[in-house]
Subunit: 239 residues, 2 copies
């Protein structure tokens, strides 16, 4: 929480800048400028054609889309360092999905229109892009498959463990229910059940993890009705 200087000439900034430039095979500096977003600020506006390719060096954002019927799906959380708006640059899509900063974010904005050709012929940059697209695909795929294959109970237990660095869980239920793709009501049900079973304890400051082992068991779907381990054959099984 040390308050940083906002100037762009500090040693720290230079290192960050150097790291960023290392993603390109040519000198990108003529086309970039530093950017900041406040928590809650929109980075890509859903449905519009973005003017910049962004690279976040700091912060966390959420990536979502709205469906015609008005429902919003939170697709992923984006963690710095990462590119934002790559697909739009490539022309793989005309208009952007929505991306909104969750925490204050810093990074660079690249005037992609003006150096599109250079970017698209730079093997170094393209390689990085492929890597990051792949990584994200792998991550999304895991989440996707997990969401389909197990009930909220397991996913939530997992999420709580991942989101509680100090054994204290204090995410917003509204956000989490979106992310996990279930109704707010249902999230609260399961959460209340965890509390009732003594796995969590509710405090004004957040939910305290009281029985981590039980949470881990729940994350594996191994809790409830004892551990008959090899049982049930939901959907197809390995032969």
């Amino acid at each position: 929480m040390t308050k940083e200087k906002t100037g762009e000439t500090g040693a720290g900034s230079r290192n960050i800048l150097a790291d960023f430039c290392a993603h390109f095979g040519f000198d990108i500096t003529p086309w970039i400028s530093e950017v900041r977003f406040e928590g809650g600020e929109e980075i890509l506006c859903e449905g519009e054609r973005p003017d910049f390719l962004y690279y976040l060096t700091e912060g966390r954002a959420k990536h979502y889309i709205s469906r015609e019927d008005g429902q919003v799906s939170l697709l992923t959380f984006l963690y710095a360092p990462c590119f934002i708006g790559e697909m739009e640059l490539l022309g793989a899509r005309r208009t952007a999905d929505g991306v909104t900063a969750l925490t204050p974010c810093r990074g660079y904005a690249i005037r992609a229109h003006d150096c599109r050709e250079k970017l698209l012929s730079d093997a170094k940059f393209l390689r990085e892009l492929c890597m990051s697209l792949s990584d994200r695909a792998v991550r999304n795929t895991e989440i996707y498959s997990r969401n389909q294959s197990c009930p909220l109970r397991a996913r939530l237990a997992d999420f709580i463990l991942a989101a509680s660095p100090n054994g204290i869980y204090r995410e917003r239920h509204t956000e989490v229910s979106e992310f996990l793709g279930v109704s707010y009501r249902h999230l609260l049900y399961v959460l209340a059940d965890f509390v009732k079973r003594g796995m969590l304890e509710k405090q004004p400051s957040g939910y305290y993890i009281r029985d981590e082992a039980a949470l881990r068991a729940a994350a594996k779907g191994a809790d409830l009705q004892g551990p008959p381990a090899e049982k049930g054959h939901r959907k197809s099984k390995i032969s």
Copy 2:
């Protein structure tokens, strides 16, 4: 259904080969060989490190993963033309997901080990790869969000419309239930309901679409209990 010659020197083959070579900025031919897979044959073996990067010119395959508990999630269908095994080439992942041919497939196998460096410095190839990764990401994202935001009824109606070019639906229920991420039993329930409502008619040769309009309505979630349009507020809504 004209029976093609299996020789590799026909004019058709040469065009296909030329199209394929156009994805690279250098001469790829020294590193490739033609391949075929029968329907049901494994293209990438789940958990193993693949020796080749494949490019399918013909056919359809399925991409899936098995979870620890033995459940199998069908992630996507892969349609030619497409690469298979790109992420493994890039090193974005160590071991492959499973990919199995659904129909007889033809294509090329690239000995990626031997030309990895060339591939990874070829801007043309990398650009194509980025595009295809992006496209797939967009597609997956749509499916993912749709799966979460609407019940099977709508997704199935959609799927039937998409999978019935002549108004006749005859996919395997087992495959479809995997793809749509629901139990076989539930798929049958909804299908039976469509029949009961006269939207489909069951014939020995398949299900005939009898009321396409109703199916389209169902795909939009607009059927059942009339069209009160703006109702319900599942998850969050646009403000």
